[in-house]
Amino acid sequence: MQMTYLPLKKEKSFYTWAGVFIVIFTGVVTGFISHFDAIEAIRIIPGVLSFIFIDFLPPAHTALPNIVNPLLDTFYMAVVSTVTAALISIVLAFLCATPTMPHPVFKIAIRAFASLLRNIPALAWTIILVPAFGIGKSVGVIALTIGSLGSLIRFFTETIEEIDTGKIEAIRSSGGSYWQVLRAGVMPQCTPGLISWTLYSLELDIRASTIIGMVGGGGVGFYIQSTIKLFKYDHAAMAIVIVAMLVLVIEYLSKKIRERIM
């Protein structure tokens, strides 16, 4: 019986082990840089759990009246921002996507613009705009809109670019004008995708909206931050729980609607 080595696959398992080593090495290095103490992290687990369960829970019902208005503001801000961003993005996306762009220069310019907007988080935008617009819901809406704009332009562009260009050619070759091609060929194909991305963006905006209050953007974020700073953890917990429920509800609705249209 031959006992010489018989490998199981073509590449050497060297790469797998190298990969594992790189991951461990990176982990250790980044751990040092970010002051991460792994032992400490494990040691404090019981402490953190008791902190959460004893100090935060049960949430204080008395806090509810103070939460209602900021929470509603949070919701309204997210809705307005998402829809506004969606409307603007549709136009820009059409100018940017390969099948429908009037000229390649649009594509490059808009893509760069969207990239710029998207890589700065909504929270950062809030901080940037507060000096100009002051604290409050207005700056929050603007910041959220700008943030969503960046993402939606990219998502919408992708959706438009995924359509079957064969159908477009068919309409164009039978004599349709730009607008007719748009209406009959492009729109039906990408509407489900556009709506889907808009709903996804709404989910993201709700999450962002809940925290921009912490830097002056209005909404329930400020309440959460201040109650925690004031050690009123059970009040904060009430707000957090309501926020979590809002996020879950929006996620659920979004999922259901997207299932229906896809």
């Binding site: 990176t26 982990g27 980044t30 751990g31 840089i33 970010s34 002051h35 991460f36 103490d37 992290a41 404090i44 402490g47 953190v48 902190f51 935060f56 509603l72 919701f75 309204y76 801000m77 809705v79 307005v80 829809v83 990239s115 710029l116 890589n119 700065i120 988080p121 950062a124 901080i127 940037i128 705009l129 000096p131 100009a132 617009f133 002051g134 819901k137 207005s138 809406v141 998502f155 007719q180 039906p188 709506i195 889907s196 996804y200 999450r207 809940t210 925290i211 912490m214 830097v215 974020g221 959460i224 931050q225 925690i228 957090i240 926020v243 979590a244 429920m245 996020v247 229906r260 249209i261």
Partner: protein
């Protein structure tokens, strides 16, 4: 083909759904806009000011560039570390959360727990950890890990659930144990989607970790908040550029590596 033929492009029922949807969105939008009671008066003045400030930001002042770069490195490391830790933990737990390979009842429980964790924004988790262990990037990384973990459990378990049931059946039929089937049947099949999801989450984590500092969790967000509070737009501009650069390069690198994930399945 005449354009005014009344042929419905979409089944009737779906058409009603679309109409209903659009109508309610319009109503919701109008209602929300009204409820917000935004002040439109000072609008133009503010926009003018904003452009002025943003213009100032382009005149970078990078005198404190060492501190800023170190802070950026802190944020970056935090994101990397949080991604690694949460990915490993999520990978292990995801097997228990996948309906096709886990015991009855367990997936629902774990998925529910993770959904709740995810529903709390990362920044709030960071705040909670800051309240417990104090300011600094350590709290931020922990908060990021928490949220990241919950997100990846959902993503990974979804990938596991997409594995062909027949292949798993076949391994079971050979007498392989559950662990062996997972390791030699499931893992090789989901390897690429695990990597994709982790990469996606890493992008998100980079963005999140930049802003953790804004609430005291260290890193470059802290620097940004510092300078903005002093209305030092020139320095803040440099910080923003660094943030942009980090986020942008990650996006570019991943685009080059062509790691794709379909968000609509999430």
């Amino acid at each position: 083909m005449s354009m005014d033929m009344k042929v419905s492009l979409v089944p009737k029922k779906q058409k009603y759904f679309y109409i209903l949807f659009f109508l309610s969105m319009v109503l919701l939008y109008a209602f929300s806009l009204f409820q917000l009671k935004l002040s439109y008066g000072s609008g133009f003045e503010s926009v003018r000011k904003a452009f002025g400030f943003i213009l100032r930001m382009f005149h970078f002042n990078f005198t404190d560039w060492q501190d800023i770069l170190y802070a950026a490195l802190e944020s970056l490391s935090g994101a990397v570390l949080a991604t690694i830790i949460s990915a490993i933990l999520a990978f292990l737990i995801s097997f228990l959360a996948a309906t096709n390979v886990s015991a009855k009842g367990l997936p629902i429980f774990i998925k529910g727990l993770c959904a709740s964790i995810r529903a709390v924004p990362t920044l709030v988790w960071a705040l909670i950890f800051v309240a417990y262990i104090g300011l600094g990037p350590f709290a931020g990384v922990l908060g990021l890990c928490f949220h990241s973990f919950a997100y990846l459990v959902k993503a990974f378990s979804q990938s596991i659930e997409e594995v062909n049931a027949g292949s798993l059946e076949a391994m079971k039929a050979t007498g392989a144990s559950w662990l062996q089937t997972m390791a030699r049947g499931v893992v090789p099949t989901i390897k690429t989607s695990i990597i994709s999801w982790t990469a996606l989450r890493f992008e998100i984590n980079i963005a999140q970790s930049s802003i953790l500092g804004l609430v005291g969790a260290g890193g470059i967000g802290h620097e940004l908040s510092l300078y903005m509070r002093m209305f030092d737009f020139e320095k803040a501009g440099f910080v923003l550029m660094v943030i942009l650069f980090m986020s942008f390069s990650v996006e570019m690198i991943f685009n080059k590596l062509k790691i794709n994930v379909d968000i609509n399945k999430f």
